[in-house]
């Protein structure tokens, strides 16, 4: 399907998410759409898939203008989107997900739906068990299921929003093969990403969005020089240098912050066996692995929110095996969850209110003046774009993450981060890491979980790989290459620690 976009504009309040976008996507090709987070990629894709309605502009399919008022219409004309977090219904089985809300013409009943699902899966080499609850599937499998569902509905334009986030190396390989095959069949594929190398690997053309507009000369034929693409994505701001690789740290003499002796974890059906580990002060430990392999269990153990099933556990040489979360906070351990607004911050509270809440000053009353002073200082130190009394929900992701950091005392013993830069643009992510590296230098032990290999390799001193309910031994960063790490995450050459 041939897709043309004319002057598409969409605003949210004062934010111009898309402004006069003009692009053309030819049939039978894979088109890359690049841009940093917040550049307007997701909005554009949602407009194409009928999730949002444009304020102005037109979309033409095969030379005909269409009004995509809702996803139902978009699906009917052959547009399907796989969201970054595939929009599946976790309580349903794979088959029910596949069948749900499909038109009767495509699948008259559950039995025929099952047949179609199996046929399509075989065609693309995906392995999906129809009767397994989707809650038990990995992100990659859910994505595969969504692709098959959209194809079964007759999608001729397939939109994939950041499809390689959170999937394994093997799944990525299968995905790319499937996409090439679909393009060869004449389908139009939009591949939305912020990863240059992936776009370079698979796309025929590339278009770059920056601040809601198409950057540069418009759509370009791949390959393009990386520097050119980077400068289009980030404008002039890219000049900041990459932080250099961490030095092989000489921490053997440093005091250990966390020490685990034969610790076993269990929560519901998830468990992690036999952890022996020593995390010294002033080091960064990265937790690698697909999402949901137990990294969160591990982080919560270190934060004192999950007690070991067996084994012993010390914090700075004090046994904390059965201590309450409060004791961990008092010992200077801080935990920052992945979803800031859902779990980390009170959206309706401002910085002042958060600082009043966290105040360690004696007395029962709120000291407003001191909280205001602290908020002012935090805004200056962390370059947060907000007033002291702005509700944090009104801030951008990067500012929220900086606010989160500002809430953690400067000199703390240990920091636990789940996906520290998820949803942040590159510059915000760098700002966050600069803060973290400064804290590391001041002697804080940092443990973070990430699905971003670059981030893991760039900042960790050592890395734990989580795979299939087991954990590797701590691997020295300097001994690891990107390929090795990717393979370990996928289970190739994975050996559990003793």
């Amino acid at each position: 399907m041939d897709v043309s976009i004319f002057d598409l504009t969409k605003t949210f309040g004062k934010v111009r998410a898309n402004e006069q976008i003009r692009l053309h996507f030819a049939a039978g090709q894979i088109h890359g759409v690049l841009g940093e987070n917040g550049a307007g990629k997701s909005t554009l894709m949602k407009l194409l898939a009928g999730f949002l309605r444009p304020d102005a502009g037109e979309i033409w399919l095969d030379g005909q203008p269409v009004k995509l008022l809702n996803p139902a219409i978009a699906l009917r004309v052959g547009i399907g989107m796989v969201a970054q977090e595939p929009l599946v219904i976790p309580a349903f089985t794979a088959l029910e997900n596949f069948y749900c809300a499909s038109p009767a013409s495509a699948m008259p009943n559950l039995a025929s739906a099952r047949q179609r699902l199996l046929n399509y899966a075989e065609q693309f080499g995906f392995t999906i068990q129809p009767d397994l609850p989707v809650a038990n599937l990995t992100v990659g499998q859910r994505q595969q299921l969504e692709i098959l569902r959209l194809l079964a509905l007759g999608a001729k334009l397939l939109i994939l929003d950041e499809p390689t986030t959170g999937i394994s190396a093997l799944q990525k390989k299968a995905l790319f093969e499937a996409l090439r095959k679909l393009a060869a069949e004449g389908k139009t594929i939009l591949f939305v990403s912020h990863k240059l190398e992936e776009v370079a690997e698979i796309c025929t053309t590339v278009s770059i969005l920056r601040a809601g507009r198409v950057a540069g000369e418009g759509q370009m034929i791949m390959p393009q020089p990386q520097d050119h693409l980077l400068s289009l994505m980030f404008g002039q701001e890219i000049q900041t240098k990459n932080p250099s690789l961490p030095q092989k740290s000489e921490t053997s003499s440093a005091q250990s912050v966390w020490k685990l002796d034969s610790v076993t974890l269990r929560e519901g059906s998830r468990s992690l066996p036999n952890l022996n580990l020593d995390i010294p002060a002033g080091t960064i430990l990265g937790l690698a692995g697909l999402e949901g392999e137990g990294q969160q269990l591990f982080l919560r153990l270190l934060a004192g929110r999950l007690r070991p099933k067996t084994g012993q556990f010390w914090l700075k040489d004090v046994e904390m095996t059965n201590s309450a979360p409060k004791a961990f906070r008092e010992a200077g351990i801080h935990y920052v969850p992945a979803d800031r607004l859902a779990e980390g911050l009170v959206g309706k509270f401002s910085l002042v209110e958060h600082l009043s809440l966290l105040s360690k000053m004696p007395g029962l009353l709120i000291n407003l003046r001191s909280a205001q002073a602290q908020a002012g200082a935090a805004i200056a130190t962390y370059a947060i774009k907000a007033a002291p009394t702005t509700p944090l929900a009104a801030l951008s992701g990067g500012n929220q993450q900086r606010a989160m950091l500002a809430l953690i005392p400067a000199h703390c013993t240990g920091l636990l981060f789940d996906q520290p830069t998820r949803g942040l643009d590159i510059l915000s992510a760098r700002a966050v890491w600069q803060q973290l590296l400064a804290r590391k230098a001041a002697g804080t032990a940092i443990v973070f979980a990430s699905v971003d290999l670059d981030e893991l390799l760039k900042y960790s001193d050592s890395i734990l790989v989580f795979h299939g309910g087991r954990v590797s031994k701590a691997l020295d960063r300097t001994d690891l290459s990107a390929t090795q790490l990717a393979e370990l995450i996928g289970g190739v050459g994975f050996v559990a620690g003793e």
Binding site: Y335, V346, L358
Partner: protein, 345 residues
């Protein structure tokens, strides 16, 4: 500029709410073939027509304000404490205990004991709801309802069983307390000044706690985002327990006022729906302590004004409940319309 826009929005909101409510209640009255004007006159002004009416108004407003203040705490923590009716009832039952056990003690001491016992009863009941919520994950609405039924069962048992009036057991309650145990009133009025004083101090305390203490801000954090609050180091379950407990204390004191100052004995329906009415009020003001007092007085005046309706106009007094309920409903509607408009701009 910002301020002007805010106030014009508030005026719009107010007008929409009032117009909607009056339209609806007038419609209901006309359907029933009743002339609305006479009814409104009694409803709106009846409570202020004589000193004795004003006294009644204050004696209703006092327990109502106590409950509303308590519910402001639980609402700030994100709880719908529907169990307040039971908490009030248990407060009333417990307040009866010292009065029945040691009727010969000096009255002032007995009053103190009765208020303390009432607070104990209400908070015990609230603590049970809190435990069910925290340890058995029963939604506080249903835990509270269960405790309400249980409280009603106990009150019925006492009124018709061991505490029944000599000779006859009836819904009109236990043997009235001896006159000297009644809370002292102003001459010739049913107004016991202690009751509104207690209620006002409760309101002051709740306002101060929520607005100015670290505990208060942690309660609000718990109500707005319990997971984040927990991650920021707030013991959220403890906060849920504490706010329910505090609400139970205030509801229990309200129950004691019902015994000592209003009914002068235990009746099965000792709560008279005051707890639910208070919940309605808290929904209307969205747990902002500053607006609590005027709205409590307004709602109480409707209720007192409506008492005269059956005799004066042969109109059912439940119209005051219709007025109160539709007021809150239209306020929610006005708020929703406003939020929708703001979103569009």
């Amino acid at each position: 500029m910002q301020k002007m826009r805010f106030s014009s929005l508030a005026v719009q909101n107010f007008l929409l709410t009032t117009a909607g409510t009056l339209f609806f209640t007038t419609l209901i009255l006309l359907i029933s073939g009743i002339s609305p004007l006479a009814v409104y006159q009694l409803l709106f002004f009846g409570a202020f027509s004589s000193p004795s009416k004003i006294a009644d108004l204050l004696m209703l407003a006092a327990p109502l304000l106590l409950c509303a203040a308590g519910l402001t705490l639980t609402f700030a923590a994100g709880l719908y404490n529907l169990g307040i009716e039971g908490q009030l009832t248990l407060g009333a039952i417990f307040a009866m205990l010292p009065l029945r056990l040691w009727p010969d003690l000096p009255p002032p001491l007995l009053w103190v004991l009765a208020f303390l016992a009432g607070a104990l009863g209400g908070s015990l009941w609230a603590a049970s709801t809190a435990s069910l919520k925290i340890y058995a994950q029963v939604n506080e609405i249903f835990a509270g309802l269960g405790m309400n039924f249980l409280a009603m069962g106990i009150a019925l048992y006492l009124v018709f069983g061991p505490w029944q009036r000599i000779g006859t057991a009836s819904m009109s309650g236990t043997e009235p307390l001896p006159n000297e145990l009644w809370l002292p009133t102003l001459p010739n009025l049913r107004l016991a000044p202690l009751a509104p004083l207690l209620a006002l101090s409760a309101l002051g305390i709740v306002w101060f706690l929520l607005a100015h203490t670290k505990w208060g801000i942690s309660v609000r954090a718990t109500g707005l985002n319990p997971i984040a609050a927990e991650n920021l180091g707030v013991p959220t379950n403890l906060r849920l327990f504490e706010t329910l407990f505090g609400c139970g204390i205030l509801a229990g004191i309200a129950g004691a006022i019902q015994i000592l100052g209003v009914f002068h004995g235990l009746i099965p329906n000792v709560s008279s729906g005051i707890g639910l009415l208070a919940l309605l009020i808290v929904l209307l003001v969205q747990a902002q302590p500053t607006w609590l007092l005027p709205i409590v007085l307004l709602f109480a005046s409707f209720a007192i004004g409506s008492v005269q309706l059956p005799l004066a106009l042969n109109v059912d007094s439940n119209i005051s409940g219709v007025l109160q309920g539709s007021l809150v409903l239209f306020a929610l509607m006005a708020r929703g319309i406003q939020e929708r408009r703001q979103k569009k701009h």
